[in-house]
Subunit: 165 residues, 2 copies
DNA sequence: ACGGTAAGTTCCATTTTAGAACGCAGAGAG
DNA sequence: CTCTCTGCGTTCTAAAATGGAACTTACCGT
């Protein structure tokens, strides 16, 4: 399968990954959340080659994750700002942070990155909850609705009843 | 920067992406959540080359996202099952599903993948909420605690106060 | 004129990936 | 006992992506 075909799949995970699923894109977006918005800064902070950075930024602009904002005429210079779609990736960052803190740090050699939820003032870890009843979501409680074939297994995106068996 | 160096970074996002950040890994994990657990099935469903699939599965086993479970002696055959760390990636799948449904489907050509939360019986979209106060998390409400330099910008993983300005 | 800044582009060596064919260890059929 | 099939890789070659460094363009300040 060629990579660009993934964006046409009838699976939202595949379509997300058709943009986000490479070695640099999510790191670039991470740094955008860190307020980085200029080419030189992305390049220095990430150590990505200029070639690739140029390519990735263009793709993200094309896909409406970033927008270019002019900050200087003559010569024209643009900042790369997250669009609404880009900002909507914050949950992805939080969830990856959580997972990395918990599972990629088993020897405890890295201090976990913790967050304070400013409105309540407590250290928090984000939890996924049902928008309807507010209960925390457990994988086996989720039942997908299939409007069509949603993936290439013929099975819904859900966890096995007995993954460990 | 070489790719393998990413796993040693003091940033949980970078460490997560050192495993998940390539073109196939999250798709393989998606299919694992779809109950796929054998080499042939992954290969047929994803259209990934056998070479790469072998490589990725081995890496995921090594990183303790999958475990090999013997299901047949002579010749020895293994199923690839998600470990606890692997199952903990379900939020990543849900969040990517949400984002793809919302932002990678602007022409409405793909029916969204919807979920029913079985305990309450309603269609749901997962929301990130504070583990302490239960309020929904908005990017600008999050204030990271820096135990050390958590990234290579010297800035915390938080959203700009004025991203649009 | 000269050095500095910002954002790419170009070039080439190395690495990764795609695609198909091949290997192997049994299992079951004839 | 050969013949084919299944399951799981490994090997091979060509194509694509990536890393690393140098080069280009356009302006600015001195």
């Amino acid at each position: 399968m060629k990579w660009h075909e993934l964006g046409e799949k009838n699976c939202p995970v595949a379509r997300s990954l058709s943009i986000l699923g490479d070695r640099w894109t999510l790191l670039i977006i991470r740094n955008a959340f860190l307020r980085t918005c200029r080419f030189e800064d992305f390049q220095k902070q990430l150590g990505i080659t200029r070639h690739l950075l140029s390519d990735r930024l263009n793709r993200l602009v094309e896909k409406k994750v970033f927008k270019k904002v002019l900050y200087q005429e003559a010569p024209k210079r643009y900042e790369y700002k997250l669009t609404e779609a880009g900002l909507a990736l914050y949950p992805v960052m939080l969830v990856l942070t959580n997972w990395g803190n918990t599972w990629m740090n088993e020897d405890g050699s890295h201090p976990p990155l913790e967050y304070v939820h400013k409105p309540c003032g407590h250290k928090t870890s984000p939890e996924l909850r049902c928008s309807e009843c507010g209960e925390e979501i457990h994988p086996r409680d989720m039942m997908p609705l299939m409007d069509g074939l949603q993936n290439n297994t013929g099975r819904p995106l859900a966890i096995p009843d007995s993954q460990d068996g």
